[in-house]
Symmetry: D2
Subunit: 144 residues, 4 copies
């Protein structure tokens, strides 16, 4: 994938500002560990409140994580002052989320003037270091 170029020289601060104002991120405990133009990484330590009925990561939480990692990846590719709204998103659930720690990455695949096409993934690491995909998703973000 070709590297994207940010339109806002202060994209990192701008994304961090948006993240800092987002209370739901704090409520679930998602942390972003890397912010590059059109690409974000994050992680989440599992806790009780994120459980569905079998004790696994709730699919709704997974979809919320994907919404955030794709949304903030999109924010890294707009101009200062512009806003990003999710138009639509799809998520496919590959494997149950049975781990103590989850990781996520989100990318902007095409950064248009009016829309961004994004994709994202939630996964965990097995002891041998291989990744297990929990879910993959795609989303359309409107730039306003």
């Amino acid at each position: 994938m070709k590297k994207l170029e940010a339109r806002n020289p202060n994209f990192k601060e701008y994304v961090q500002l948006k993240i800092s104002r987002n209370k739901f991120i704090k409520a679930i405990g998602l942390e972003f560990t890397s912010i590059e133009p059109g690409y974000l990484e994050g992680q989440l330590v599992f806790k009780d409140m994120l459980e569905q009925q079998n004790g696994w990561l709730h699919g709704g939480v997974t979809s919320a994580i994907l919404d955030m990692v794709q949304g903030f990846a999109s924010y890294s590719m707009v101009e200062e002052g512009q806003q990003v709204f999710t138009v639509e998103a799809k998520i496919s659930y590959f494997n149950p989320g049975t781990a103590n720690k989850f990781f996520t990455r989100g990318s902007v695949l095409k950064a248009g003037r009016r829309f961004h096409f994004c994709e994202g993934e939630v996964y965990y690491m097995k002891e041998d270091g291989t990744e297990v995909t929990v879910a993959k998703g795609s989303a359309t973000m409107a730039v306003v």
Copy 2:
């Protein structure tokens, strides 16, 4: 839409059991107000932890609500002991979630033996009683 017939005479208790074990539902405060075969209604009082960066209902929360209302609608259409897993879901965001109280409804459109096709909606009520759609979604649920 034609009324569906439950396969489990105790479908209501079965759905309530699954809901009671789901900690994320309690964490966000979603309550289900009606449980019929293939059809559920619920509501959610807005609170700070559900905010995105503009102070509106977080899109990730909206997608989580849709996952739950569609998933438990699906649980109302399985046999005792069967489980339901979300295979995939799509959500379209129609309007910002700017209200103090939100409502949701979810339906099973086709209840097959191996999977269910569902749809759901999150909305709020204006003072004049008209509904404003926040988001609509569709999902495929696997029955195991």
Copy 3:
């Protein structure tokens, strides 16, 4: 569903003009039987070239029909001279397309200034007059 109001008094002619220029519609034999603001109906007589490997209506044709019925429903809700492009679409396949004649309907659920949210359905009629859903879909259309 509340009735939409067209922004173009000549919406019917405008939609028909767009349809007339679309060669793929003719190639598969889709005909539009009703054009209202934000709502279209059409029909298609089955023929050999539309078969997949089991002799049923090809899922790719079904998705093409949904793209058209939703796209032209969207064209009925723009101003003269504006264009409509599909941003994204999802389709769920409910039942095999085993019939001699298929019907379709497409609606604009929300007609914004920059994009439209649409939904559509392909179905056939059983001898007793009941509808069998072949597929349902949703789409985002950009208005340019």
Copy 4:
């Protein structure tokens, strides 16, 4: 992406058999140029019947190509005699299809016993050899 292992030693013949019975593929002129376990490539020469109203590749054709490349990639990962049906598919349209020749690739990302998760792409080549994505999609295939 890790290489998948076919469950059917005659997967190539099996996929070709399914392709040979599919009349819509012939109608639009799609050819498959590579058949590997869980991965297919194909190409399509543009012709008049595939046009939408602006003279570009019709989005419905693009979605049909994605349905086929993902569906037959899925067929390469089943046992002899099993069938594959598209449960649902999503497509995002990145760029207009303005070329004389189009290419497609489809992959199985996860080959479960009951479901396959697939993704696919339609693209064309610029004179300098770079690829332009026309559309990307994801799909769930049921294995029966």
